[in-house]
């Protein structure tokens, strides 16, 4: 009896052909049958790597092209020792006159530079849209730069110190005075740069802001 049923079942439940519409229904369904292409995963990884690289390059470019602070400008000027000066002179009075004529910026002198100061010259530039002068000199074995630019008037005409520190192995110090911003950068101690105007040494520095 069981055998009869098995035979009967096999006959009645035999396989049939699928309708042709089945493929069409599959195609019409919204599941993606689109070929992702061999190696799509690799392409995706390459794309991600390219985007990451582009982001890093863009970041570096933005970083390099960003507006430098005055301190960074002074420090970077130290590495441009061979760069041509706009005005070559070893006389501070001449440099002062040149810069006043060309930019309106002044260098208030309290005396002669210290004997260890060797002036090289000065250079005009525009920094962050502001007319700026960079004075190059050496104090002993140390290279130094004094960067002067316009600044909002504040204080009583005395030094108002802004920043002091080191950057890329150089030391810097900045202050404002009589509507100008001053920044000294030196490959040695920052205070040696002060000897350009203070032949007896650096003025007493109050606590920085």
């Amino acid at each position: 009896m069981k055998k009869d049923y098995e035979s009967d079942l096999s006959r009645h439940l035999r396989p049939v052909q699928a309708p042709d519409e089945l493929w069409d229904r599959l195609q019409q369904s919204k599941v993606s049958l689109v070929k992702p292409r061999a190696g799509a995963g690799i392409s995706w990884r390459w794309t991600a790597a390219a985007i990451a690289t582009a982001a890093v390059v863009a970041g570096i470019t933005l970083w390099m092209n960003r507006e430098l602070t005055t301190e960074e400008l002074a420090v970077s000027a130290l590495s441009r020792t061979s760069e041509r000066m706009d005005f070559l002179s070893a006389d501070l009075a001449e440099i002062r006159s040149w810069m006043k004529t060309g930019t309106g910026l002044d260098l208030p002198l309290r005396g002669r530079p210290a004997p260890s100061v060797q002036l090289m010259g000065a250079k005009k530039l525009t920094h962050n849209g502001v007319s700026t002068v960079e004075i190059a000199y050496r104090v002993g074995d140390s290279d130094a730069r004094l960067v002067i630019s316009k600044a909002p008037p504040d204080g009583d005409g005395r030094h108002t110190f802004k920043k002091s520190g080191s950057h890329h192995g150089a030391n810097f110090q900045s202050w404002t005075m009589r509507g100008q911003m001053y920044t000294i950068a030196s490959s040695g101690e920052a205070k040696v740069g002060c000897m350009l105007c203070h032949n007896t040494g650096a003025p007493r520095m109050p606590a920085l802001n």
């Binding site: 079942l9 096999s10 396989p15 699928a18 309708p19 089945l22 599959l26 599941v31 070929k35």
Partner: protein
């Protein structure tokens, strides 16, 4: 299983070309997203999938839904196929799951829909002869479709696909003894119901 050789299959495509299909290569291509490979798998297995669905669900519309669901599952999960079992076994599991999913969805709509369908299906006077003829042709499938799902899927895999007890056990993830037990209960139920139908038909014919 009813295959020519392990990993090999022979299909005839719509252009009458006989294709030697190395399943492993085709499956691997499909796993890489090759639509042509998917088409080959579809053409190779569509009749099998549809047959199981039809014999399980009992009507062609449901079978189409189940078959479609099966191939969509195949497409979305084929990257998970690692070759631990044969591709056929893996595919059978997809079909079985689709059948069971269909059964669960349909069960949520019952009994209301079935009651309505029973009213619509009520035989008309003078349609007795047609009804008897249809019963003769479809009675086995109707009775199978009324079996409990765990017995029904065993019957379909056994008699539509010709799988052995061991193969059914592998597909369903149960023991061979469980398959035998379910088949035994299914046989008894089928015998009882078919005999009842046969008696009913004889009674109606003798009237």
């Amino acid at each position: 299983m009813r295959k020519k050789s392990p990993g090999q299959d022979v299909i005839e495509n719509g252009l009458g070309m006989v294709l030697d299909v190395n399943h492993r290569e085709v499956v691997e291509s499909c796993q890489r997203g090759d639509e042509d490979a998917f088409r080959v798998l579809f053409e190779t297995h569509k009749d099998r999938v549809y047959s199981i669905a039809l014999r399980y669900a009992g009507d062609s519309a449901a079978a189409m839904d189940i078959a479609q669901d099966t191939f969509l599952k195949l497409l979305s999960t084929i990257r998970q196929f690692r070759g631990d079992s044969t591709f056929e076994s893996w595919l059978y599991r997809l079909v079985v799951n689709s059948c069971l999913d269909y059964h669960r969805k349909r069960r949520r709509l019952l009994p209301l829909v079935d009651d309505m369908l029973d009213v619509l299906r009520a035989p008309r006077e003078g349609a007795l002869h047609d009804l008897l003829r249809e019963e003769q042709e479809d009675r086995v499938q109707q009775v199978v479709a009324q079996l409990p799902e765990e017995q029904r899927i065993v019957v379909v895999l056994r008699y539509t696909e010709g799988l052995s007890y061991e193969e059914i056990a592998d597909v369903l993830g149960c023991r061979r003894g469980t398959v035998a037990s379910r088949l035994n209960r299914a046989h008894k139920a089928l015998e009882r119901r078919l005999s009842h139908l046969r008696s009913a038909r004889r009674g109606k014919v003798s009237q």
